[in-house]
Symmetry: C3
Subunit: 140 residues, 3 copies
């Protein structure tokens, strides 16, 4: 598998392990010193793989999430570093019944160590975020 | 075209031929002894390419469907066998006006015979399935 | 990067530059004599890269758009020509508050000149287009 395909599958695991809440598997997706910047999406800036997994596993415990990523633009900068942009859509059903449907882009860097690509940094920018109240429609 | 790309295009044809109801084309996507397991999505377990096409062409005749697949994790196990996981979203507009919007993952195996990759098995697991009644909103 | 990956990233830039309204960057996505056929989606047929950028930048100035493309079927026909089909979903929030959610397929050709792939023609067919009125739901 070439490096571009390996990075695509890395982000695929990010989405799948996040939505299936596989936190121990999810930890391996990130470099130890990963920087996650959600300030462009109303969130915070978190440094460190362990810290981010602690945050996610607490924050999302009662939420149902769906994260879909599209049309990657991966650029290999050197043998062990790369950058990528992904279009994204996410759905979050909060514990109080509200729903988020959001759209934007992940702007990321990747690092290869011990033969494995990991996410080194990820910043989320938004095109649109819609919040719907629990009473919005007859859903079953 | 390498094997991973060929399998991605196989699943692309699955989605397109399904939503455009091209049943004769769709038959070629599947191995003769394909096993389709929709029990994780409220459906049934069907064996055989011909049987599954008969089922689909009858079941979906009056439904408008959209199936989108994302971020494949394809692994080549041997020269002629592979596994894959796809994130998915589907929309179904039923004949009575109800609408399904669903999210989940396809867990699949593939087999190469006569130089062509085909779907050997496919099981659908769900993150979320929403059903909306016809009266939910003013749609034109 | 191989030709199929280069064409995938070309379409990725199309989506991203369109939704971020980067019209000068968007111009480079298209061949000078590109043919855009939106007649299958209630639109018109436009010839020429400059003309199409003029059209887009005027037409979409007050609209918020999201375009996501999925599961490409890219076929290299010769060293410098290729065809492709993409599943697509788009969201448009019009200036009057109405919303379009649409689904369909882009049917495209590509041309490589001066080492760069560009979109030579693009025709959009639709599976489904939903228009929602501003009063449809409590959105914030």
């Amino acid at each position: 598998m070439d490096d571009i395909e390996a990075i695509k599958q890395l982000k695929a695991r990010y989405c799948r392990l996040l939505d299936t809440k596989d936190w121990s598997g999810m930890r391996h997706v990130f470099a130890d010193d990963v920087v996650i910047d959600a300030t462009g999406s109303g969130g915070s800036r978190i440094t460190g793989g362990d810290t981010f997994i602690d945050y996610l596993s607490t924050q999302l415990a009662d939420y149902l999430t769906v994260h879909h990523c599209h049309t990657p633009e991966i650029t290999l900068d050197a043998a062990t570093t790369a950058t990528g942009i992904w279009a994204m859509e996410d759905r979050v059903r909060f514990a109080d019944g509200r729903e988020l449907t959001g759209f934007g882009h992940y702007h990321e860097t990747y690092e290869k160590a011990d033969g494995t690509w990991r996410i080194k940094s990820s910043a989320l920018t938004r095109l649109r975020m819609d919040i719907t109240e629990p009473t919005a429609g007859p859903q079953h």
